[in-house]
Symmetry: C2
């Protein structure tokens, strides 16, 4: 089972055409028309021992992280959040003090994102998990399926740092390098790029947030838009932060691999015409006829497998 296969199955069960629903399963978030307003709505989960281990970050960081990760889907559509609900599944023995820390992190993210936590649900569970649903509004949503041939491929934000941080935590890398520290901090404290998202409105033809890896999310955008994305290796490497190159060495990986597979930085990937490129967007490739994603280096192209984080592969 791959996630794509599962989603295709679910689409068959749930249908695609519903009154008031502009965009359903298959994009970063759903879009509804209500009272002349376009609502954007998403849900995201953060599960102990799947997405994180308790020792990897403080509970406050966890609450903050879960909220930013959920809001990132709104950023990908250029939406502005209204509010969030949080389902907290708490394991036995989870104390009042621990819950306060968790909520403190959620509240901090809520303030930063101007997206108050206005409700939710509490349940027991064996493992700690936070499921966050976010509602927002948008005038004209950025979708995955609008990329046009001839568009530039834009990257807003860093990719790879989160992946490097994750690997450093997972392997318990003992090296106390400044670069690794930066990567771990990036994994612990991702930020939903809401401003990046709204800066793309009226400029980008398509966008997606990179939550599961650049190559996998690029493949999703390419498939939805029925185009090929060409990623230029030199351009991508040039757009990567210095810390990633340094951390890659310590981890025995290449910066390129970390960047292509890394997703939990919640950068935005978008396509649009050159003359509309927003400030802060790095050009890392272009949109051409065809399908899939290729990596171009020294004049040669090779198909890039849709690698990344797929829970179900």
């Amino acid at each position: 089972m791959t996630e794509a296969r599962i989603i295709a199955d679910l689409l068959r069960q749930f249908g695609t055409k519903h009154r008031q629903i502009e965009l359903g399963i298959g994009d970063d978030a759903a879009v509804l028309q209500v009272g002349g307003v376009r609502l954007v709505w998403t849900v995201d989960a953060c599960v102990e021992d799947v997405h994180f281990r308790r020792g990897w970050l403080t509970l406050s960081e966890l609450g903050e992280r879960a909220t930013h990760a959920a809001a990132s889907d709104l950023a990908a559509m250029g939406a502005v959040p209204l509010a969030t609900l949080a389902n907290l599944a708490l394991p036995p023995g989870f104390s009042r003090a621990e819950l306060k820390l968790l909520a403190k992190g959620q509240a901090r993210a809520a303030r930063a994102l101007r997206c108050p936590v206005i409700g939710g649900n509490l349940t027991r569970a064996d493992a700690l998990s936070l499921t966050t649903t976010v509602l927002g509004t948008v005038s004209k949503p950025l979708r995955r399926d609008g990329a046009k041939i001839g568009d530039e491929l834009w990257l807003l934000g860093n990719v790879g740092l989160g992946r490097a941080g994750f690997l450093a935590l997972q392997t318990g890398a003992k090296v106390r390098s400044k670069a690794l520290g930066e990567c771990i901090a990036a994994w612990r404290k991702p930020r939903a790029r809401l401003r990046g998202g709204t800066s793309l409105i009226g400029r980008a033809h398509a966008a997606i947030d990179i939550s599961d890896g650049l190559s996998l999310d690029a493949a999703r955008l390419a498939a939805a838009s029925r185009v090929r994305l060409v990623i230029d290796q030199q351009a991508l490497l040039g757009a990567l932060p210095e810390a990633l190159h340094a951390a890659a060495k310590v981890l025995g990986e290449t910066a390129l691999t970390l960047a292509l597979v890394g997703g939990e930085d919640y950068a935005l990937l978008a396509t649009g015409p050159r003359h509309k490129r927003p400030k802060g967007a790095a050009v890392i490739g272009e949109v051409v006829k065809g399908k899939g994603v290729t990596l171009r280096s020294q004049g040669r192209q090779r198909a890039l497998p849709a690698r990344g984080f797929d829970h179900f592969r």
Copy 2:
């Protein structure tokens, strides 16, 4: 820790006053004003080995059950659903065929509730769980805090059957009585009382859905409205279905206990003036000055502890 204590802690972290938010933490669902429309929004979780065991119901029943349980919070506010998003946490080895069954049940509930599943999220987890968020609209939401002294106390739907079914499944009761079968069916297939909820609009002063037990949810309504609810034992017993009396005997419980502690039938509890009582509402008591909930029997009243299903007690 009790759930009430946890919620009070969370309220302190998250705050209560937010732009566009009419009603936040502490009611069945949150209420937002967007573009002149009142949105009602809720989230609910259904966790393996907490809310259900895999052998207790089919996966299709589970999908259906989780969706109705979540939509019940909208019923309690008199709202009409727009759509739902579902977060599915799937354990290792969960097959494509199993997922199809789960989604089939969700799709069936979605059709019955006119509330399409328009998105969601997939994640791995050790235990199977469904977290369902539902969005709806309402003209004037029924709240928990509007009960007035002199109101009748109304029950819409059954209480106790679900509890009896749960106990029968939990204890593995071997007796194949028709009554127990009815209780198990009630637990497996609860229905969100959307029509019951809308029938209360313009009639009831306050309402809540009974998800965690009549006595506990009555105590929540009483606390929110700063009144006392008096439940008349004879009236309550008279409103209970025959199957509950029969099942109680088999289970070695009393029908009264099952009714007071039972919640997973998703009946509605409301208060309102006699002349506005809707069709199908059973009068089981009244609203008086004071606080808490009392049970009146043969002219005597005794305080009813806020018993019921509290995950955190």
